[in-house]
Subunit: 345 residues, 2 copies
């Protein structure tokens, strides 16, 4: 029996969802792959940190956070440590980068991942920042050190994307991607189309937890631009950064615009489009567009959607439903499964 020691940097929505899935599957993983997965470390910015080489009781850790908003300082293994120091000093096999995204730099998350890879540890990131700004460097660093570096959940949560392309679309050249990659603006536009006042929409989004106090990262299209960047860098080797994306948010969209689109049989969506032409020239845009109401991209119940255009397999479209944190957790878990498959060989 092997063990796989996991370090979680961050323990918010994604971290807790991942922990819940791991609790459900740990026995099956042990039986199927012969590997016991132990979460040995959890860091948070203001809620304390835990380091227990024999494995943390995840149910208890979640209970403490939910009951008192922090880890209990009186338990064995409680400490306060910077995430970077934990990545550099603690003993683990896989680092999970789950800290909040800094869209302008990808830091400090990129440093956390660098620290793991330089030590020969595998890394998985739910954080788009490092991918959007430093993908190529991190990919090459992982390769040099013989490590895995996965990031399935960065685009459309656990919906199969990067892992799917790598395992199921081998040797396909991808020339074009289209998608609706930001679920929050998709929700806002859908509610506006129903006639709900924008103030009410924002309040409900904040209450339900998927709208940030400052929603500009979503409404100005930064989040969508970051996801398009990640898609294009990974699938097309585009060498983009989010600031190079031709970006228009939904801030200028009024109820009158939506009504006018509807009169034309259309709905407004924040579309992401990326293309690499035959000469290797890259174009990448994020902007509100009118989509025919019957189109696959216009679905009211969609959380996200993307189409890939390939040379060998034609066009492929994948739809995501629901805005469940569980799906984000599943994407992180899927990355862990790939690491385990590698360790099991």
């Amino acid at each position: 029996m092997k063990t796989c020691k996991v370090l979680l940097l961050g323990f918010g929505v994604a971290g807790k969802a991942f922990a819940r899935i791991l609790m459900q599957t740990r026995e099956k993983i042990l039986a199927g792959k012969g590997i016991d997965v132990l979460v040995v470390g959890i860091t948070t910015k203001s809620r304390g940190c835990l380091y227990r080489p024999e494995g943390i009781d995840l149910a208890e850790a979640i209970r403490q956070l939910e009951q008192s908003g922090r880890f209990d300082p009186d338990q064995p293994g409680y400490c306060r440590i910077d995430s970077l120091a934990a990545a550099q000093e603690w003993e683990y096999d896989v680092l999970m980068e789950l800290t909040p995204m800094n869209i302008r730099t990808g830091q400090p998350a990129a440093d956390h991942i660098r620290a793991a890879l330089r030590r020969g540890r595998h890394a998985a990131s739910a954080n788009k920042g490092p991918l959007a700004w430093h993908y190529k460097e991190l990919r090459d660093l992982a390769k040099e050190n013989g490590c895995c570096f996965f990031f399935e959940t960065t685009v459309m949560a656990g919906t199969p994307t990067f892992n799917m392309v790598e395992s199921c679309l081998q040797y396909c050249r991808i020339d074009r991607v289209e998608g609706i990659l930001n679920a929050t603006t998709n929700f806002i536009l859908k509610e506006m189309a129903k006639g709900v006042p924008i103030g009410d929409i924002m309040q409900r989004g904040r209450e339900q937890g998927f709208l940030e106090a400052d929603p500009s990262m979503d409404t100005e299209g930064w989040d969508a631009a970051a996801k398009l960047t990640v898609l294009m860098n990974v699938l097309m080797d585009a060498g983009l950064t989010p600031d190079k994306v031709d970006r228009t948010g939904i801030g200028g969209i009024t109820e009158a615009d939506i009504a006018a689109a509807k009169a034309r049989g259309n709905v407004i969506k924040l579309m992401c489009r990326g293309e690499k032409d035959a000469d290797g020239r890259i174009t990448a845009t994020v902007r509100p567009e009118e989509i025919p109401a019957g189109d696959v991209f216009a679905g009211e119940d969609l959380a996200g959607v993307y189409s890939l255009y390939t040379d060998l397999m034609g066009k492929l479209t994948i739809l995501q439903y629901g805005l469940e944190p569980a799906q984000t957790g599943y994407g992180v878990f899927a990355d862990l499964c790939r690491v385990l498959d590698r360790m099991a060989r």
Copy 2:
């Protein structure tokens, strides 16, 4: 450098499409995985067979078939042999089962696959018959012999399905599948909705090569039932056979039915639905249903679509476009890639 010797049983649409993709990718595979893929054998029922341990010139083999409808009997390696005998006697690493489907028994294709697996050779099947009738036996036989047994292209051609679930949805329980799995009836219903007379539709389908001389396997829902069976047996361990599916074809659908549906804002599609309830009870139906015109399943340009309902990842929908033989060939190629990844370890 390793070599991987491939035996193709059947060299029709799927076999030629696979061969074309292999010609395009052989050098890249050698560079990337360190394995040289050689097609060493091709069997056909009435066009002759080829066996060349040093590798067949695929471009030349395709040229001969297209020019004279058969392999040139005067070339080295030309022979006439039964596919089963080739599977039992020839030297190869991977058998590709590409012979025409017998929907009522899955034979003789199942025997071809058994012969390969019993000899410890990997097998991939583009033929739904063996999967629909003998999946569990063949899966277990592959496992006992330490071999791969893949079949990506049997449902929605090369669109990621079985390989995707296995690599990207690990530990998800799938409770329900829905889909439009037969592209031919989808095409017929679409043309009927445009008002094209059924005789004209059938003639065009035959001319374009995707409608059999006897289209009853499609129009009576047998092909869809076989695909639903494969999906459910593989993804839900349903233990179904096609004759157990509650099946209604599109033969009874009239232009008046389609017009009446349209007046209600609906389109008629041949829907496949499968479910496993909490007690493990299986239900599987194929029947024409009215679908709201704006629904994802109603898309005019779709070749196929399926939704999976999972416990850990919620609902996932994948759409296939185009009816290109290349996509069928790609599914077979994707299975080969998985075998190569296993051989490369």
